[in-house]
Symmetry: C2
Amino acid sequence: MVISRERTATVPLSGVLIERDSPTPLHLQIARQLERAIDRGMVPAGSRLDNEVELADQLSVSRPTLRKAIETLVRQGLLVRRRGLGTMVVARPVRRPSALTGLYDELAAAGRTPTTQVLEIRRQPASPAVASVLGMAPHAPVTVVERVRCADGLPVALMRNYLPPALVSVDRAVLTEHGLYQLLRRQGLTPHLADQEVSARAASQREARLVGVPRGSTVLTVRQTTYDSAGRAVDHGAHCYVPGRYLLRTTLVSP
Amino acid sequence: MVISRERTATVPLSGVLIERDSPTPLHLQIARQLERAIDRGMVPAGSRLDNEVELADQLSVSRPTLRKAIETLVRQGLLVRRRGLGTMVVARPVRRPSALTGLYDELAAAGRTPTTQVLEIRRQPASPAVASVLGMAPHAPVTVVERVRCADGLPVALMRNYLPPALVSVDRAVLTEHGLYQLLRRQGLTPHLADQEVSARAASQREARLVGVPRGSTVLTVRQTTYDSAGRAVDHGAHCYVPGRYLLRTTLVSP
DNA sequence: AAGTGGTCTAGACCACCGC
DNA sequence: CGGTGGTCTAGACCACTTT
């Protein structure tokens, strides 16, 4: 009988099932299922996975395919790899607000109830600044959307969005029931990258009234440009958040 | 004579030279040089690269190696790939403050002159909250650093950092001359991932005095936890930025 | 010395795009 | 249809970490 001297127990990927006929790539199937297994605690934080060759064997895929799946989770900060040591599940208590989610999904994921009041949808000539960031001709028509966003009935933000009419057609119902990112996705425009500029200032009288805070209160301002996977600017937003009612969370990743 | 009907001219990677004996991986050499070429305009925005097989051939590497280089730049939003179409350089005017850079490097990259005044370096028992995010035992000693950061002589931020003494030893000179991220890197702790919570409030009397703004002025507050590549928390910061003197820029990437 | 991830190769087949 | 990126494979060698 062979007694192997395991330094620490390693974890196999017994729960992961892959479908070879599925249109979703194998490495994505593996990454998603492993992510879920970690989230559910089936692969405990701090534990060490079996080595890559074994894992690939267990799942009947090649090592590069398995590696690609693991790389995805490493980039998300869920796994850590070290040469000579192995692949470990990061011990981390809470976290992961992820990046690049719309406010609707973010509030919903946090267990709060998001509602939206669409104040206005209009079309107007784009200012030079807006035309520039959206890559449009100056004074070309741009769609402007203004919304008050609430969480559990309390206003958390006043949002003004500028959308290129050539790419995006706006549906009031979708904006009210879901969010802008949902609307973009339905039109095949997957948000892929966003630039954000965050600052703060005193609220204007109108802003204060719309979000229900005293005039002159501090608001968090965000200017954000969203690009789709083809590199086209699909949205530019100028938003005011009410500090205390909403915390702007981002996760930064090293290149 | 053969006349090929090129839909648009494609760009070869003539300027890229790779060293096979270098310790830096081939795919990284390619990615970095291609990135520089784009930044310098040698590969113009909007242009289309040669196809992957040709590029791999030009550089005498395999296709997977070349693809890995290109994937890096796609993830950074510099290139866009579409099946059947090719790989294009994203047409983009300014941008790219990148992510996860220290304030020192960020100011320097923006052409401003960063200086730092170290107010205090002390060691004290960690509060339960700080101990928790740093993964330390409650009331274990933690290093606290307080600094005023200036750009071109004008204060832009007041920073308080909590550092685990077991991982980080603090050097006042390095903090003054460079930055915290530089100090971490010198100790082999490469920042890899950071969680940020941004909000805003009125400045306290002390904060207002230290950054030179009227009492009660609005300040942008950031709580940030930085993790190294091994997933260990290496820093927790509670900072105040002066809006108008500094714009918090982040780039969000989809998973 | 043994075990691990890191890199690179050569080739294959497929899915999508525009003509 | 031809051209492009997207995926997957099987195997090789190397660099690092611990025993």
